[in-house]
């Protein structure tokens, strides 16, 4: 393959990967993306000798200036500095690619590509970035190696040493078209090498201490879901039921929840206590979340929630959680809400504290953490509900206690008498609060049906409309009806929004919770046991998406989701905790290997005990001797004679003076440079010629003297003055 063509191809591939890495986040204007792609494609054909680029050199400057003004104005007016900065990079890249002529232009193109990659690290955190990054690593390595060779060729080739006249360059084009410099083997070898160094980069990535103080990431913002903020209106979840976008992935320590046939998990999220006109809210009077915080290394915090009957304060809290609770590692995508989800009855949460952020308002045992990007946290939960007998033996609200002031017994005045009467009718004869709750749940499940086909209640109270006219609804209606009817019959209830179930991923052993898994249910308080989950939605109806099918398309989708998950887990969300955990496990494995060789180690230890002191002393002596010999040799070599000092000064004078006039390429000797400058009639060239001869005489003729040095100083000063004058 031709050298020049290979270099061009690999360079364009590297730029293309960087371009895709940046625009893949979708935050750069689509018009600019399209224009950039077309511009880059066209720039492939714009090059000498087909185009005389000397005539278009000004284009780069003009386009860059216009691009800067355009992007600057847009950025200031919209406040989107990153997005428009990315746009400016695209403009610069297209302009540079279209006016590339020499090695320096390629170099600038690589720098722009790298900056696009940097911008992409902020604008695009998706799996696509990983693919583009990997592509850039491979093609960028090729491109940079070939660029190095190309530049060396341009600098060095070819000098006709046999020619008695001055060395002359020959046409570089012939060499650039050569097929003998790079071949498939070269590309394969360097490609494999770059893969090897990608692996090294991954090791570096995992090893660099995470001491970052914040998280700066601007993704697409994920899926924006309703129902998890401060309030929710009935009917929001229904629209999501068929959305299979994965919004959360979680692993559970309990194996009985693994697999496609495992029991469903209720991922508890936002909790509402106040109902009015078909809308649930967190009332100001509802109790704030009570928790015991524990600061952990790496700016992390673990917070324990109260569980009735268990004293969770102090050191025993985590021990209790570890012994009785199921550990969940949760990776939550941004969903437009800050609530954290955990299975059933959470006992503790552990997460990285965001920097400089005010803690969100937390009520009803919610834990909330603001996050603009994916968030990884841990939670410990009790998944098993208390036994029915125990619940039947206790009460929800103290018998005879008035509902006034209890936010969980609040009933708006618009609740119809029919609803109230129906509730009383259902629980008539129930001997305990638990029995009331069960009756209400069973009645709702058996007498009403599930539908996503919602209708406008047309001014009627929504629960009344659901119970007596429509007689069908989705989970929010069931949960709301249960909560309100429960309050009518004296139960303390609250509405919970979260997720139910999720798709089991067999490749990586996690549950992928999709937007369509959003669900509503109700919690009923029981004295001595806390809040217990009651789901009044008919079973089997709420889970439209199921646990995932065995079809190959579903398997392929899960496999891609595994990749995304791993990307988020090990790259986007990799933090100090994971780092410590990783190195701890490596340490354990190493110590396991160490035991295998401990037998040999014992023999070495015995030998070392007997001879160690002597060997150590000899080693120290040897090292000292070696060091002394080295430093003595250096001292000798370093002690300069007067002639050396004069030579050094002469060389310094020459180098400085020559640099003032021109950059001397590696393959051009001082004498050749002086001659070239003289032929060009450059200012100071005559002085440089004389200085060069003095320099040569000093370096190779041994003829340095005070007179020569003095003359060299004068000449250097003259050259400096001439260079200044020429610049003016």
């Amino acid at each position: 393959m031709r050298f020049a063509a290979t270099h061009k191809t690999t360079s364009y591939l590297a730029v293309a990967f960087a371009f895709l890495a940046m625009v893949g986040g979708g935050t750069v204007s689509p018009l600019l993306v399209l224009g950039g792609a077309v511009g880059l494609a066209l720039s492939w054909f714009i090059e000498p000798p087909r185009w005389n680029l000397d005539r278009f050199a000004w284009v780069f400057t003009v386009v860059a200036a216009l691009g800067l003004i355009y992007s600057g104005l847009l950025a200031v007016s919209t406040g989107d500095y990153l997005g428009h900065g990315g746009g400016f990079l695209i403009i610069l890249t297209v302009a540079r690619a279209s006016t590339r002529r020499a090695a320096r232009d390629w170099q600038q193109l690589y720098l722009l590509a790298f900056l696009m990659l940097v911008a992409g690290s902020v604008l695009n955190g998706e799996l696509g970035y990983a693919v583009c990054f990997f592509g850039f690593v491979i093609t960028g390595t090729w491109a940079l190696i070939l660029f190095h060779l190309r530049r060396e060729m341009e600098d060095n080739f070819l000098l006709r040493h046999a020619d008695p006249r001055a060395s002359q360059r020959v046409e570089i084009r012939r060499i650039l078209e050569s097929r003998r410099i790079v071949d498939r083997r070269f590309l394969l070898g360097t490609g494999l090498t770059s893969v090897g160094f990608f692996v090294v980069a991954v090791i570096f990535f995992l090893s660099i201490p995470r001491v970052g103080t914040g998280f700066f990431f601007r993704g697409k913002g994920g899926t924006h879901m309703v129902g998890f903020s401060d309030g929710v209106k009935l009917g929001g979840h229904g629209r999501l039921k068929n959305d299979s976008t994965v919004v959360m992935r979680a692993t559970l320590s309990a194996r009985e929840f693994h697999g496609r046939r495992a029991p469903y998990v209720y991922w508890r999220g936002a909790v509402f206590d106040h109902y009015k006109r078909g809308q649930w809210n967190r009332s100001p009077s509802s109790p704030s979340t009570i928790s015991w915080p524990e600061r952990l290394p790496g700016n992390r915090e673990r917070r324990y929630l109260p569980l009735p009957g268990v004293n969770l304060a102090g050191e025993g809290a985590l021990a209790y959680a570890r012994a009785n609770a199921v550990l969940q590692d949760v990776w939550l995508d941004p969903i437009g809400a800050d609530v954290l989800f955990a299975a059933s009855t959470p006992l503790a949460y552990e997460f990285a504290l965001p920097s400089n952020e005010r803690r969100p308002l937390e009520k009803n045992d919610e834990i909330r953490v603001r996050h603009d990007g994916p968030l990884h946290y841990r939670a410990w939960s009790i998944l098993e509900p208390p036994p029915p007998d125990a619940l039947a033996a206790t009460y929800s609200a103290p018998p005879g206690a008035p509902p006034d002031g209890d936010p969980y017994r609040q009933l708006p005045s618009e609740i119809t008498a029919a609803t109230r009467a129906k509730a009383e009718e259902i629980v008539a004869g129930a001997t305990s609060d638990y029995a009331k709750a069960v009756r209400l749940r069973d009645w709702l499940q058996t007498n009403l049906s599930y539908t996503l086909d919602l209708r406008d209640p047309d001014g009627r109270e929504p629960i009344d409309f659901f119970l007596f006219e429509r007689r069908a609804g989705h989970c929010e209606y069931f949960a709301s009806a249960f909560a309100i009817m429960g309050r009518v019959v004296g139960l303390r209830t609250r509405s919970v929004n979260g997720f139910l179930g999720g798709e089991w991923n067999e490749y990586d052993g996690y549950i992928a919770v999709r937007a369509g898994d959003a669900h509503s249910w109700t919690e009923v308080y029981f004295e001595g046991h806390g809040w217990v989950t009651f789901d009044a939605t008919p079973p089997g109806e709420a889970d439209r998406l199921g646990r995932g099918s065995g079809a190959w398309t579903a398997k392929l989708r899960r496999w891609f989701d595994t990749l995304r998950f791993q990307w988020n887990k090990w790259v986007i969300d990799y933090d100090l905790t994971q780092q410590l955990s990783l190195f701890r496990s490596i340490g354990k494995k190493l110590s396991g290997g160490g035991r295998a060789v401990s037998g040999a180690g014992k023999a070495v230890t015995r030998f070392a005990k007997r001879w160690g002191a002597l060997l150590g002393a000899l080693a120290v002596l040897g090292a000292l001797g070696w060091y002394w010999r080295r430093t003595r040799g250096r001292r000798r070599a370093a002690a300069p004679t007067r002639a050396d000092r004069e030579r050094s000064e002469l060389a310094r004078l020459y180098e400085k003076a020559a640099r003032r006039l021109a950059q001397r390429p590696a393959a051009v000797t001082p004498r050749e440079l002086a001659r070239q400058l003289a032929e060009r009639g450059a200012a100071g060239a005559a002085q440089l010629e004389e200085l060069t001869e003095i320099y040569y005489a000093g370096q190779w003729g041994g003829a340095v003297g005070d007179d020569a040095l003095a003359r060299a100083r004068v000449l250097a000063a003259d050259i400096d003055a001439a260079a200044r004058a020429a610049r003016r």
Partner: protein, 369 residues
């Protein structure tokens, strides 16, 4: 003992720092970029920036490993020009053999080292395929005569990314004798007794037969007296009368003031040594030029100096011997006596200008350089 010292030398070579690394301009920018990305990563906690930082660091590592691979297994040899003259450019051939079995070497620079310092000229090899040898040559000019010792080579590369210039020095000692600078000199008139003899200046067999003598290197083969040679069993040549008369001894006085010589020996340089040393160089150059001119004219030439005696001889081989001796003729003091001059032929005394010294002989021509 030789084996032991060889082992020590090998050990020492292994222990000394094998590589030099120097940042290039691009390397400086690269490190700056890596630092900036690192700071941004720490400041923001953005893991993708950490990923970029890790890649930049691995790039530096890759640069080190690939440059090492490309520099390994190279064997460099040099072949100097047959004759090297002060002040005249010469070509030095450099050959690089890639001894690696399956790996090409890219972008290799070779510099010759003299006194541990590289010459100003580099030889560049774009690609040396595995198991192959590539050659190129560089042009250089030594300003002064003398014996130059090439210590070895500096093998360097900026492969693969121009981030660093990695180099290592190899030992490969050899010497080059740089002959004194030859200048065009006017033919000196012979002694008055030769005037009008009508003898040709050309080397040849013309002239009155004088006798036979043994053949010496540089003699004209046509002068061999074959019959006598056969009888004697060794080469004998005819000597004609004008050859006896066309002899010259060139006396070059290489004495300088004692203070200058002491300073030169100590490696120091005095304020006033430049002119005297230059004068000596000019004297040696003049002596070489006259010797070449006389020999070209068929004369027998002997050269003497303080600590130097080149006996009478003729021909190109004799000229080479004279040039070699003059190339390494050191500056000395007048305490060292001049060699004995040939009593028969002409005598040319060449002295450095401005330098007085005792013990100079009388001469037909005294030239001041």
């Amino acid at each position: 003992m030789a084996g032991a010292s060889g082992a020590w030398a090998r050990l020492w070579r292994r222990l000394r720092p094998p590589r030099r690394l120097r940042f290039t301009r691009e390397g400086n920018w690269f490190v700056f970029l890596a630092l900036a990305i690192g700071l941004a990563a720490i400041n923001t906690g953005n893991n993708l920036l950490y990923l970029l930082l890790a890649w930049l660091l691995s790039f530096i590592l890759a640069s080190g490993v690939l440059s090492e691979l490309t520099m390994r297994g190279l064997r460099v040899t040099r072949r100097p020009a047959p004759e090297v003259w002060a002040g005249q450019p010469f070509l030095m051939e450099i050959a690089v053999e890639n001894g690696k079995a399956g790996l090409a070497s890219f972008s290799i620079e070779i510099e010759d080292l003299i006194d541990g310092r590289p010459l100003d000229k580099k030889c560049y090899f774009l690609k040396i395929p595995p198991g192959k040898t590539q050659r190129t040559s560089y042009r250089h000019t030594f300003s002064r005569r003398g014996r130059y010792r090439f210590d070895g080579f500096r093998i360097a590369t900026r492969f693969p990314f121009t981030l660093f210039r990695k180099s290592r020095d190899t030992d490969d000692g050899s010497e080059v004798i740089v002959y004194p600078r030859l200048t065009a000199v006017p033919r000196l008139p012979p002694r008055p007794r030769h005037l009008g003899s009508g003898q040709s200046d050309r080397l040849g067999r013309r002239g009155e037969f004088f006798g036979l003598r043994e053949w010496k290197d540089g003699d004209d083969r046509r002068a061999i007296h074959w019959r006598s040679t056969a009888r004697a069993g060794r080469l004998l040549v005819r000597e004609v009368h004008d050859e006896i008369e066309r002899r010259v001894t060139i006396v070059v006085d290489n004495a300088l003031p004692a203070a200058v010589v002491r300073a030169l020996d100590a490696g120091e340089r005095l304020r006033e040594d430049g002119p005297t040393l230059d004068a000596l160089e000019r004297a040696v150059s003049l002596a070489a030029s006259h010797a070449a001119a006389y020999l070209d004219g068929g004369w027998g030439v002997a050269v003497v100096g303080r600590g130097l005696t080149v006996p009478l001889g003729r021909g190109k081989a004799h000229l080479a011997r004279i040039l070699r001796e003059l190339a390494v003729l050191p500056a000395t003091t007048e305490a060292v006596a001049l060699g004995a001059a040939d009593a028969v032929g002409d005598r040319v005394l060449i002295v450095p200008a401005g330098v007085a010294a005792a013990g100079r002989p009388t001469a037909d021509h005294v030239l001041e350089a």
